[in-house]
Symmetry: C2
Subunit: 411 residues, 2 copies
């Protein structure tokens, strides 16, 4: 496979890369449904019975035959005889006949012979055992019919579905207290750089602490990966190769935040190309910050070279690593990226032909939310600490003018 | 304190309730920074030193005196003598004099006497030790100055800040490998209802499985609470009181999904009022689904009565429980609710004076994203399984017309 064109737009790079990736078969584990939030379903569920399993009342009132209430109003009520009460949580053997009403509570089983429920507030007790109906009921009114939510045999959940609170509820409704889910992919993270030291070390003059291993690890964990930090590696081919070989063999994906110099980046690409075929597919994105990103595949496993600057590493990961991670997780559902609508506070410049991501702070006013650019170079981590999200400046434009409505993608 | 007006708008109910809540002092624990993602900072950090701690090059190139490059261009280059190279990760003792250039890599320390860096690509080597400069450098160009990100003594993080990947990076940049965070609030969850059985039990005819305990638990855990499930309680005052007393005494907040009948809801309110003052503050919201919501306070701790219908319970929790949880967590930062912009596929009716939340499914087209209503009664959990998010129909309108642009709040 040839190396793709250099400096391609990030979204195209990612879709090309995802297409080049083989289909993934993640491992499968059975876990407790009640702890499955955020995991990915690995089995197909069919409904073993209808839901609700019996017809239930959706209000407090009287089960009736709808035709017995035909034309009823408060001035011309219908009169019915109360013949019983449905007990909550019990099967009812009561049988409703013409001219009768049976007391039923919300969630109670509809007795045989009834086809509607009149709400309590639309009735009046005349004497013990007899009521007036002040409102006609339509056939089926205030009844949740058996199978109205799910029919027997219907597909409940498909493999590749991300489990949200409602999927947990849906499984519990059928008593599925265990669920098979895909294993979270493991991601090895390396930071290279002769000037980089682990955070617990006091840096000597000229050294800086490793930030990227930890920001990326947190981001990956948020998105369903199991990150593993391999530490800081010097910018030499042999040292980097040894560390990358290990991380690559032990994980489903490998991230390398490259040393920031051009030579260090070249070493990273060279090391990646020793791992297997096809190797580096994309080297450089039409993106700022995040241009020096490498997307590579070896033995079907992704290896991503990220810029060493912390802000670039975060932006590039958000655009490239997270979609790849979704594929590794076995997620089949569409992804939507919600944003906050805001008004840009000032003009911001941009270079045409390159997608720019600009950190912004949000300010809530009485009339509108304003997005205030947090200018700062991509080396500066506190630029992002001070920001609420990013705005995207498309490649086709040369900046945005103040007052423009923008979509702010929160971190 | 008087019971607030009945059926008030949900946002007003929540803001009134938050104002009535006492200030919270959550417990504080020291945890590893690298595991602190999503937790809330409980200490004030000041920068012990500037960041970056020394002036660094942001490119690969030559450290120079800017005035030595004045007017330089490819047709009229400036000529400089290379007198050394800054080693990465080391303090440099090199001193730059007039007419000299020193090789520096990205992230390398700027040598004394230099005030700009010329990028490698704007230079050409003429002979060993001498280069042409093809572009004039401005004072400070391509230098990340000492303290440019953070000045010494500046506030880094405030108590009440939610920790995102970048906050972890910012702490690691200073070697703060431990961070004090607020303890996650514990939330006791009870489900009441004579017809409700735990999910592991095969329901008899007339019974249904408990869903709410598990959907709410998942939702709470997603949002930084420690949920504790107390199980299913019958709809009697004494049984409910016993269970609620225990959950209330053992937790920072208590949620009760009330039995669905009117009498069961009244029992819930009566039980809550036995816990302490002021008791029930809000009973009923101008909201659908979610109207029969109770917001109560006793001994400064919130007790929330939620509707028994699964969809109502989720909607009401999203609007009421989550903001209260944020306060219990000690979060001080503003909350923004991102949404996906979509076009409504069809007319939807609504009643004026009541805020409606409608589940929708998103469909991505080539031109636009469409929000397709998933109609279903609020008792039906699979309505939400089939939906991507909710749209809000404001109280002031009587429905929305197809083609309207809507904000979809993803679950």
């Amino acid at each position: 496979m040839p190396e793709f064109l250099k400096l391609i737009p990030p979204h195209k790079a990612v879709s090309d890369f995802l297409a080049a990736m083989p289909e993934i078969e993640p491992g499968i584990s059975s876990i407790k449904t009640q702890e499955a939030e955020g995991r990915v379903v690995a089995q197909l569920f069919h409904a073993p019975h209808p839901l609700p399993p019996f017809s239930r009342s959706s209000v407090d009132g009287y089960a009736v035959r709808a035709k017995d209430t035909f034309g009823a109003s408060s001035s011309l009520p219908a009169y019915l005889t109360i013949t019983g009460e449905v007990e909550m949580g019990k099967q009812t053997d009561l049988q409703l006949e013409q001219g009768q009403a049976i007391i039923v509570h919300t969630g109670g089983m509809i007795p045989s012979g009834a086809n509607a429920v009149v709400m309590l507030e639309d009735t009046q007790t005349i004497r013990e055992g007899e009521i007036e109906i002040h409102k006609a009921a339509a056939d089926g009114e205030n009844i949740l019919h058996k199978g109205e939510d799910v029919a027997e045999g219907e597909e409940l959940l498909n493999p590749g579905t991300v489990i949200r609170p409602q999927e947990i509820g849906g499984l519990m409704a059928y008593g599925y207290t265990q669920v098979k889910v895909y294993d979270n992919p493991t991601v090895g993270i390396l930071s290279s750089g002769d000037e980089v030291v682990p955070p617990e070390i006091e840096p000597s003059p000229g050294q800086v602490r490793d930030i990227n291993s930890y920001t990326l690890s947190a981001m990956l964990r948020q998105h369903g990966a199991e990150p593993r930090i391999y530490g800081v590696v010097p910018d030499s081919f042999s040292a980097l190769k040894k560390a990358v070989d290990q991380a690559f063999s032990e994980n489903d994906m490998t991230l390398i935040t490259a040393g920031s110099s051009v030579s260090a980046r070249d070493i990273t690409a060279d090391v990646i190309n020793t791992l297997g075929k096809p190797g580096v597919l994309i080297h450089g994105l039409a993106l700022r910050p995040g241009k020096p990103t490498i997307l590579a595949l070896a033995e079907g496993k992704p290896i991503i070279g990220l810029p060493g600057n912390p802000v670039s590493a975060i932006v590039s990961s958000g655009l490239c690593v997270l979609p790849i991670l979704r594929k590794l997780r076995g997620i089949k559902t569409e992804i939507y990226e919600p944003s906050v609508r805001a008004v840009l506070s000032q003009n911001v410049p941009s270079v045409s032909g390159r997608e720019d991501y600009l950190p912004v702070r949000l300010e809530t006013g009485s009339e509108r939310t304003t997005a205030v650019p947090v200018f700062g170079r991509s080396n500066l981590i506190y630029t992002l600490v001070r920001a609420d999200g990013l705005i995207r400046i498309p490649a086709a434009v040369t900046g945005l003018t103040g007052g423009t409505k923008v979509d702010v993608y929160l971190f």
